[in-house]
Symmetry: C2
Subunit: 491 residues, 2 copies
C-alpha cells in the first residue's frame, strides 16, 4: 500500500487521498456528485442513528416531503430564493425519446416540456411551508416538530468529497410555533443538541455562536452555528440552526388563530447537519497513517488478528478469539475477527490503521502460552500486553478512554489555536503564521467584515454565545466594540 | 369525525380516504408527489429498519450513489433505457436568474444549460454499474453485496398515494458475482427475504414466483416477485428480485479475471421494495373503521385511555398506568398514555381505531375497585375485562396473537380467492363475479397473454415457484401447457 501524503507536506492532498484510500467515498460519473462507499456509509449511519435518537428524544418526528419544488413556490420567499437560485438543478422535461438521427441514442422529447419548471430541493423550507399552510389553523395545531432525512442538490462549481458536493445527504428540521419566544428556544435547543452530538459522539469540540448578518442562511432572522477547528487551523461549520421569524409564514400565508382568538403568522425554525460532518470527523482526528475514529462511530471498534504458523495454532487462537468476541458482544461491542489467509498480519495491521479501527488485538502462539494478548491503540499507536483474563472489561474501558482522549486532544489543539489579538497587524501575522481562530473586536458593520475578508480571506465564523462583554476597539476602523468575535479561514 | 366510505361501497375511495384520515400521507403541491406524514413515516421506518436488519444479516452493506444519471450512462443498457425513457425527469439547467420583465420572479438562465442532460434516477443500475467497473478487477473483488435506501422518480401519469407516485422511497440492492449460479442464488435468496419479511413482519401472505417475459424488469433476464392479494381481490406486486445476467456488465464493460485467469463479464442482480408496501399493508388488513396494523409495525402498539370524572380518579388511574407502562417498556413494548383533557374517551377510541392501534386499554373508577382494566383488540373489535395482576404478560401475549391472527385472516381470504379454472369462459366468469387470483394454463406465448389482458384486464402475475407439473390445455389457444400460472387484475 502506497503511503499517504503527510499532513505537513500537503494537507489538502492528504485529505483527498485519505477519503479514497480508506474506502469512504469517491467521485462519481456525475460532475460534483460522490459515491459514499460502504465503509463511509456505515460511519454516516451511526451518526444518523444517534442524531435521530436525539431528535426523537427532544420530541421531533420524521416525515418526508417531495424532492421537487415548483418554481412558483421556490420563489415565494424572496431572500431564500435569491440565495439558492444561482446553484440549483432545474427539471424542465419529463420524457426522453429515441434520437431519429442516431439509433440507440436518446434525446429529450421537446413535446414533454413541463408547464412549470421543478427545482431539485437545495433545502425544503418552501415545499414544507406550503404544506404546513394546510396543517395549521389554530394554536392547538402547534408546535409542529418535524425532521426529514433527505438528499439535496446545490450546484457548487468547486467540489470536494464530503466537504462540498453537488448532491449531499442531510437532515433538516422544520418547526412551527405559536410564539416568537418558543421558536427562539427551539433554535437554541437544537444548536445545543448539535453541540452535544459533536462533542460527545464525534469527539469534536465546537464553539457555539451565531452568524453575522452577511453569513446568515437566506431567509433567516438569525443563524446559530457550531464551528469546529480542523488540524490545519481552518474552521468548519458543522451544523446550523436558524430562527426564521415569520418570513416563511408570510411568504406562504400560514396563519393560525391564537389563544386570544386573533389571526397570527406562525413562527419558524429550521436546522441542519449533513454528510459534511464526515469531512469534519476525518480532518479533526486522523493522522499521517490514516483515519482515527472515535469508538462511538467506528463500524469496527475492535479487530482481532491471529498470528500463527500452523493450523493447530490458528484453531487454538480461534477458540480464544471466540470467547473474547462473545463476551464483548454481550456488552454491545462488535468485534471483527480477521483470519483471512490471503493477507499477512503486517498487511492487516496497516489496513486497520488506515481505516481507523480504534483497538487492534493480536494473538500469537506466545500469547497463548502466557495467556495474554497484544492490544494496540489506533489513536496513540501504542501497544500493551494484556492478560486474557478480564480482557473484555479492559477493552470496554479502553474504548471509553480512547473516546475521551481523542476529544481532549482535539480540544487542546483547538484551544491552543484560539488567539486573542487587538491590532489588525497582529491579526494578519497570527493568521499567516499560526492560523486557527482569532478572537478580535469588530465594529459590527458588514463593511469592515468584507474588507477583512477581501484582504485576509478570514471570515467571522461566529459571535460566540459565551462571549463576555468587553470594551474594545475594532480591528480596521478603530470603532468601539462591546465583544470579541471569532475570525478564521474556513472550509 | 366523518365516517369512512365503506369498502363495499367504493373500495378505491375507502383507500384514498383512509390514507388521508389516518394521517399517513397526502398529495403535495408537486404533481404526483406525496408528503409522507409523521404517522405514515413512522410505519415506513419500522419496515425499513427490519428489512435493513435482514439485509445486513444476509451479508449486505449499505452505500449511496448519485441521484443523477448522465444521459450517456442512462442509455448504455438499451432495454433498461427504453423501459424508463418514457417516464423520467430530466435536468437541463443548473441556475435560475431574475426575470427582467417580472421583478421578484425567476426564470431559467439559458446560459446555464448543461452540456449533457441528467436523468433523475428511476432506478440505479446504470450509475452503479458504471461505478462497479472501477471496483471489479479480479474474482477476489467479488461478490459485491450492496444495498441503497433512496428516493427515485418515475413520471407516472396517473398517481395514487403510496401505490403509484412520481417520487417514491425505496431500497435497491445491487450485487455483482463471479458466476451465473451465484447470481441466481442471490436473486432467489433475496426473494425469500422479501417473502419472509412480508409474511412474518407485515402479516401479508405472498405468492413467490417469476414473471413472464413481457412483465420482466427492463434489462433483466429473469424477474422474481412476491404477489399479495388485496381485499378487493386485486393483486399487488410487493417486491421484485431480478437476475440481470451479464447485461449491465456488458453495457458498462465490467470484466474481471476469474480463477482460471481468464477475463469474464460479471453477473448481476438487483432487488427492490418501496413505499408501495404501505399501500399493500393498508389494503390487506384495514376495515371500514380504519387502519388495522400488525403489532410489529404499529408506531403505537398499545394505548391507555383513562376514564374519570374527578382529578383524584385521574391521579389513581395514572398510578396504575405508570406501572403498566414501566412493565411493558421493560419488555420492549411502547405504550402511549393519552390523558389529554380536551378530548373525550369516545373521541379517543374512534381516533385510535382509525389509526389502527392494535391494543387499547381503558381504565375507569370501577376498574380500580375491581383491580381490572378493559382491553380492546383493534383487529376483532372485541373487548375483555382483564385483571391488572399479570396484565403486562397478557398484553405481550395478545400482541403476538394479534400478529398471527391478522396473518391467518389474510391468508384464509387469499386462499379462498385463488380459483383453479380450466376454460376461458369459466375464467371470465370467476374474474367478474369473484375476483382474486385465477390459476390456469397458459400456452407460454406473449400473444395469448396479451389477448387475455386486452379482453379481461387480467395479467399473469407470476409463474409460482411451487407450481407442480401438470398436463393441461391453455385457456384461449388450447395448446398444451405443463403448469398453471396465476392471473389477476392488479394494482
Amino acid at each position: 500500500m502506497a503511503k499517504l501524503t503527510s499532513r505537513a507536506e500537503d494537507y489538502s492532498k492528504w485529505y483527498n487521498e485519505l477519503v479514497v484510500k480508506a474506502d469512504l467515498a469517491e467521485n462519481s460519473g456525475v460532475r460534483g456528485c460522490m459515491v459514499i462507499k460502504p465503509y463511509g456509509y456505515a460511519i454516516w449511519e451511526k451518526m444518523r442513528d444517534e442524531m435521530d435518537r436525539m431528535f426523537k428524544e427532544t420530541g421531533h418526528q420524521n416525515a418526508y416531503f417531495p424532492i421537487f419544488v415548483p418554481k412558483s413556490l421556490f420563489e415565494a420567499e424572496e431572500k431564500n430564493a435569491e440565495g439558492f437560485a444561482k446553484e440549483c438543478a432545474v427539471v424542465t422535461h419529463y420524457r426522453l425519446k429515441s434520437d431519429p438521427n442516431n439509433p440507440g441514442k436518446l434525446i429529450v422529447d421537446p413535446e414533454a416540456k413541463l408547464e412549470e419548471e421543478l427545482i431539485v430541493r437545495p433545502t425544503s423550507e418552501a415545499i414544507i411551508w406550503n404544506t404546513y399552510k394546510n396543517w395549521i389553523q389554530s394554536y392547538r395545531d402547534l408546535p409542529i416538530l418535524i425532521n426529514q432525512w433527505a438528499n439535496v442538490v446545490r450546484w457548487e462549481m468547486r467540489t470536494r468529497l464530503f466537504l462540498r458536493t453537488a448532491e449531499f445527504l442531510w437532515q433538516e428540521g422544520h418547526t412551527a410555533h405559536a410564539t416568537r419566544d418558543e421558536a427562539v428556544e427551539e433554535t437554541e435547543k437544537m444548536l445545543g443538541v448539535y453541540a452535544d452530538f459533536a462533542e460527545r459522539f464525534m469527539a469534536i469540540p465546537v464553539v457555539q455562536g451565531y452568524k453575522t448578518e452577511s453569513e446568515r442562511f437566506a431567509g433567516a432572522d438569525e443563524t446559530y452555528c457550531i464551528e469546529a477547528m480542523m488540524q490545519d487551523g481552518k474552521a468548519l461549520q458543522a451544523g446550523t440552526s436558524h430562527f426564521l421569524g415569520q418570513n416563511f409564514a408570510k411568504a406562504f400565508d400560514v396563519k393560525f388563530t391564537n389563544r386570544e382568538g386573533k389571526q397570527e403568522f406562525a413562527w419558524a425554525t429550521s436546522w441542519g447537519t449533513s454528510t459534511r460532518l464526515m469531512g469534519a470527523l476525518i480532518m479533526t482526528h486522523s493522522d499521517d497513517n490514516g483515519l482515527v475514529l472515535p469508538p462511538s462511530l467506528a463500524p469496527i471498534p475492535v479487530v482481532i488478528v491471529p498470528i500463527h504458523r500452523t493450523d493447530e495454532q490458528l484453531a487454538q487462537i480461534g477458540d480464544v478469539a471466540d470467547d473474547i468476541i462473545a463476551k464483548l458482544k454481550a456488552k454491545g461491542i462488535y468485534v471483527k475477527y480477521d483470519d483471512r489467509n490471503e493477507y499477512k498480519p503486517g498487511w492487516k495491521f496497516a489496513e486497520y490503521e488506515l481505516k481507523g479501527v480504534p483497538v487492534r488485538v493480536a494473538i500469537g502462539p506466545k500469547d497463548l502460552e502466557n495467556q495474554t494478548v497484544e492490544v494496540a491503540r489506533r489513536d496513540t499507536l501504542t501497544k500493551e500486553i494484556v492478560p486474557i483474563e478480564g480482557l473484555d472489561q479492559y477493552i470496554t474501558d479502553l474504548l471509553q478512554t480512547i473516546q475521551q482522549d481523542i476529544f481532549n486532544k482535539a480540544k487542546s489543539f483547538r484551544d491552543e489555536h484560539i488567539t486573542r489579538v487587538d491590532t489588525y497587524e497582529e491579526f494578519k501575522k497570527v493568521l499567516e503564521e499560526k492560523g486557527g481562530f482569532i478572537s478580535a473586536h469588530w465594529d459590527g458593520t458588514p463593511e469592515e467584515e468584507e474588507q477583512i475578508k477581501d484582504e485576509t480571506k478570514a471570515t467571522i465564523r461566529c459571535i460566540p454565545l459565551d462571549a463576555e462583554e468587553e470594551d474594545g476597539i475594532s480591528l480596521v476602523t478603530g470603532k468601539p466594540s462591546k465583544r470579541r468575535v471569532l475570525f478564521a479561514k474556513a472550509y
